[in-house]
Symmetry: C2
Subunit: 148 residues, 2 copies
């Protein structure tokens, strides 16, 4: 498995420990393999409804490279992105999107709006889903089971 998805899974696990939905993301400069940003969900800690892991790494990486366009970058995330994150990934012009578990309830890549297939989507990354989906999914299941 990609070490980047491993790092994303670690971020997801850490988010769960903090009481956040355990999803993690890593943003990588494709040519060099340099990790520009990694994060877990932070919606509760930051009281920010937009603070999904993907948004956190897109914002951090764009601030670091000083441009909102990250054409040369790949994003690894442990869960199929929602519509908010899928659209943000498109705006940032991410080259490749690697994701873990599929999310029939809230995903927007293979489910619901299937954002990247819409005529209103103006940049579509290469898509690779289902990477380490069992581990990514187990983190989420354990988290929600422990909260019941």
């Amino acid at each position: 498995m990609s070490s980047f998805m491993e790092l994303a899974l670690q971020e997801a696990a850490r988010a769960g420990v903090r009481g956040e939905v355990p999803v993690g993301a890593v943003l990588v400069e494709a040519a060099t393999g340099v990790v520009l940003a990694s994060a877990g969900n932070e919606t509760e800690a930051l009281t920010d409804p937009t603070a999904h892991a993907e948004i956190m790494v897109l914002r951090a990486a764009a601030a670091k490279v000083r441009t909102p366009r990250l054409e040369a970058c790949d994003l690894y995330v442990t869960l199929e992105p929602c519509a908010m994150c899928a659209a943000a990934i498109s705006f940032a012009r991410i080259r490749r999107l690697y994701f873990g578990a599929y999310d029939p309830k809230g995903g927007a890549v293979e489910h619901g709006p299937r954002f990247f297939t819409q005529p209103t989507c103006h940049h579509r990354p290469e898509l690779y889903g289902g990477i380490e989906e069992q581990r990514a999914s187990a983190l989420l299941k354990e988290f929600f089971a422990s909260r019941r």
Copy 2:
């Protein structure tokens, strides 16, 4: 016209002067009419692909009231929200969404994914579109014409 949409149009115009796509948003506590946040697009200034006007006001208001859930709030925005912003509006549980111009190229309320109609959308605000759409649209047309 609502003074909140007037304020959103002012934010849009100011964004255009800064070289940002002229879209403005205002977030209002419905019961009191208190403006919790108002902003224009800031994607270029902040080098942040997520810094649409709607995201800016959602984040600012949620930080101010110290919760990511803004059930008692209404959002005014000069342009039909994209998928990123529509999903963020849903996550924030905004009560009513008032928007100006329709956006067939990038909108996600009446166009493309029609996010709020998706089974993966778990909160749908009341929707009021086309408010002062001519003025909102004129700002955008002038902006893009001046850049050609």
